[in-house]
């Protein structure tokens, strides 16, 4: 974790599924003031029939985690202090090369305590694997500071808007 709070950067990673074209990933890196520093998005990724059969139930973790997420985070020039994800698939799949936090609402079922640690920030639960080297106090402090500016899931809405804008542009072209 960065020692200087003003230089703290946080990544937000999500993958959206579109029935017609497949999955599109979006990755947004913010500073602690929630301002955008970098944004990356993928072209649509769709498994072929063979992959659907052979991967079976492991297809989604494979595509979202190992393929899309890894490609996005590796392309970014800024390495954030940690990356927030908003679903269980992204929470456990793929190697991002930096610590990962899974953002849940407090009303959702928490993941197993044997594997994860939790930090609560307002109405959010932030889960991270015990094996990661995150300091829970520092995580709470950083996310609380971010919460003063935006709700913790608000950047995911920006990613969604940006992906839809990119799709509109691609369709127009």
């Amino acid at each position: 974790m960065s020692s200087s709070k003003s230089k703290t950067t946080i990544g937000f990673l999500t993958v959206l599924e579109f029935e017609s074209v497949g999955s599109i990933g979006g990755y947004l890196v913010l500073n602690i003031g929630a301002r955008p520093l970098e944004f990356h998005c993928t072209a649509p990724v769709k498994a072929n029939r063979a992959q659907e059969i052979l991967y079976g139930n492991t297809l989604k973790p494979y595509l979202h985690g190992e393929v899309i997420s890894t490609a996005l985070v590796s392309k970014a020039s800024i390495k954030p202090d940690f990356v927030l994800v908003n679903d269980d698939t992204l929470a456990t799949s793929g190697n991002l090369g930096c610590p990962r936090l899974w953002l849940q609402r407090l009303s959702e079922t928490p993941p197993p305590v044997t594997q994860f640690q939790f930090v609560d920030v307002e109405r959010w639960r932030c889960c991270f694997e015990k094996a990661s080297d995150l300091d829970d106090q520092q995580v709470k402090e950083t996310l609380s500071q971010l919460y003063e500016t935006v709700d913790l899931d608000e950047p995911f809405q920006r990613i969604q808007a940006a992906i839809e804008e990119a799709r509109r542009g691609a369709r127009a072209a």
């Binding site: 947004l28 913010l30 970098e38 990356h40 804008e165």
Partner: protein, 612 residues
């Protein structure tokens, strides 16, 4: 079953049948009854089957040889290649410039004293969630990277909070939306109804653009009476931003025009026209030019409009509560400043509405009604006094006869003169000074003063206001019109606000209907109606502004059975003009007061037209 008598029977023993196998002793029984009955023993015959010998033999196995195929089995392989993922990325280096704007002097708080800047948290709803007003890129931004820049910004409330921009009062949600509208736009018209805070929205957006480093040099152009108003508003809403009015003698002004400091300059329209050579000098470029009361340039061929269009600038904003006063072509004049050639004269109204949609933001009080106190209209239909009626009838009859006799020499100016004369008689009888309107006004003002409230009285004539002032002396009326020197105007407004004994201020439409804040008044009287509903609305909105303590009562005085009543009907029709452009309804049936309608006030025909 047995039949007959029983007797012991000895078995017959035979020679055993011996084959190549086990010995089988055969015992047969021959039962006979011994008398005449036949033997019942069925005959038993024995045959050799050869089973015993067969069983003893070693089985013989016969087999056939089948040759197996010697080819390799077919193998189907599926390659599971790691899919390649195309990634597109953008960096936003400008975000690093989002720093708190630091003027060369110390930070100032609202009252001008030095102070510490404290981080502000964004506004939250009742359930504790941060309010989120998003910026959207305007349609004329086509590059994806630029569009994403706006989409990926945090909510406006967060930006403002993190930049530590403080406000004396929390902006309303629609004002945040107004700022979000202005911020990304290089050409924009903020056309909110009077009193909704266009000034505050423009100032806040200017602050944000300064903080983000997108602009450095701003010019505000406004009517002369509003220069001091802008300075006051900046001191209230953006005390940290240095601002100066262009004023003084020519040498001083030339020097001011050529300076790069302060960031914000304010000048009136007339001064800009006078100094157009200096303003238009090469190298004198402004990042943003804002026109207040921009309807001033609706006539694109007048000097003011030409000079303003000639100012070198990157961004052009127009602030006006009345973007269309008489005709949709007013908007054409406005857009010649924003984006020359974008609109043209005579364009169909629906097409114009479609084109301007992304550039113009207009909210009315009804749209933000929940945040404002109500506005109540009370039309006072007043009968003329006998003296007035006598004078009026004579003037109208004689005037119409005179107009009819003019034939082809008749012009609209002649009709206007008659209209104005008749309206003046509706106010005061020229011979006796009798005025039923003033009687009514006096009575109403007694109630206003008695309740400790304050009122504004508008008239289009200064002489009318002077007569009213004489009659209403006991209410300590203040006058604010063209005859009042500029230097005395601000003190008059201050006194009206602060002095509890001053219950009424008398204003002309020209001086008092533009850009003033009198939101502490709860009563507005329109002693005589203006020719244009837009200007009337401005007058009413002087009082019905955000911050008004209670309901604003608007009394429109109307002399029954006179030209005023006929004009009233035409004014009501003109209100539809606004709605046709700035709403989804159909285009209006009438586009304002045409020449035919003006002549029609006296049942006259436009010269040259055949009679119906």
């Amino acid at each position: 079953m047995w039949f007959g008598r029983r007797r012991k029977v000895e078995p017959d023993r035979h020679e055993p049948l011996v084959a190549n196998g086990p010995t089988v002793e055969v015992i047969s029984w021959n039962h006979s009854i011994g008398d005449a009955r036949e033997s019942l023993t069925p005959p038993v015959d024995f045959y050799t089957t050869g089973w015993n010998s067969a069983i003893a033999r070693t089985p013989r196995v016969e087999s056939d040889d089948v040759a197996l195929d010697s080819n390799e089995p077919q193998i189907m392989s599926l390659s599971v290649r790691h899919p390649s993922v195309q990634v597109r990325g953008f960096r936003f280096p400008e975000s690093a410039q989002w720093s708190t704007f630091m003027p060369s002097d110390s930070e100032k708080t609202i009252d001008g004293s030095p102070g510490q800047r404290r981080k502000k948290t964004p506004r939250r709803s009742d359930d504790g969630l941060p309010q989120a007003t998003r910026m959207k890129p305007p349609k004329d931004i086509v590059k994806l990277e630029d569009r994403l820049y706006y989409l990926l910004q945090p909510p406006l409330e967060s930006i403002i909070a993190s930049a530590s921009l403080r406000f004396p009062f929390e902006p309303f949600p629609y004002q945040y939306e107004g700022v979000a509208f202005l911020f990304p736009r290089f050409e924009a018209v903020l056309a909110d109804e009077m009193g909704l805070g266009k000034t505050m929205q423009a100032i806040t957006t200017i602050r944000m653009l300064l903080v983000s480093g997108q602009i450095r040099r701003i010019l505000l152009i406004c009517p002369k009476p509003l220069v001091s108003n802008w300075l006051r508003e900046f001191a209230t809403w953006a005390p940290e931003i240095p601002i100066a009015a262009i004023e003084g003698d020519q040498k001083r002004r030339e020097w001011q025009w050529r300076q790069h400091e302060p960031a914000v300059r304010v000048a009136n329209y007339e001064l800009v026209v006078r100094d157009h050579l200096v303003v238009g000098e090469e190298g004198n470029h402004f990042d943003l030019v804002v026109l207040d009361e921009a309807q001033r340039i609706k006539n694109k061929s007048n000097t003011t409009s030409q000079v303003v269009r000639g100012i070198s600038r990157s961004r052009s904003w127009a602030l006006t509560g009345t973007p269309v006063e008489n005709s949709p072509d007013d908007l054409v004049g406005l857009f010649e400043f924003l984006s020359p050639g974008y609109l043209h004269t005579g364009m169909p109204v629906p097409r114009m509405a479609q084109l301007v949609g992304d550039f113009v933001l207009r909210r009315t009080k009804d749209m933000v009604m929940t945040e404002l106190p109500p506005k109540m209209y009370r039309d006072a239909e007043i009968s003329l006094s006998p003296e007035q009626w006598s004078t009026y009838q004579g003037a109208e009859d004689n005037g119409v006869i005179k107009l009819e006799n003019m034939g082809t020499e008749l012009t609209i100016q002649h009709v206007f003169e008659l209209v104005l004369r008749l309206k003046q008689i509706c106010n005061f009888d020229p011979a006796t000074g009798a005025s039923s309107k003033l009687d009514r006004l006096e009575a109403d003002l007694e109630e206003v003063a008695a309740s400790g409230k304050k009122a504004i009285v508008f008239s289009q004539w200064v002489k009318t206001l002077e007569k009213i002032a004489q009659r209403l002396e006991r209410f300590n009326p203040l006058e604010y019109h063209g005859k009042v020197p500029s230097k005395k105007r601000d003190p008059i407004l201050d006194r009206f606000k602060e002095d509890p004994d001053c219950s009424v201020i008398l204003m002309s439409y020209g001086a008092g209907s533009v850009g003033l804040n009198l939101q502490f008044c709860e009563y507005v009287f329109l002693f005589d109606r203006w020719w244009n509903p837009a200007v009337e609305d401005q007058a009413i909105n002087r009082a019905h502004r955000i911050g008004a303590k209670g309901a604003v009562t608007v009394t429109r005085m109307l002399s029954v059975g006179t030209i005023e009543e006929r004009i009233h009907q035409v004014l009501e029709d003109k209100r539809e003009l606004f709605n046709s452009i700035f709403s989804q309804t159909d285009s209006p049936k009438k586009l304002g007061l045409s020449q035919d309608e003006i002549f029609g006030l006296f049942d006259l025909k436009l010269p040259g037209r055949n009679a119906a």
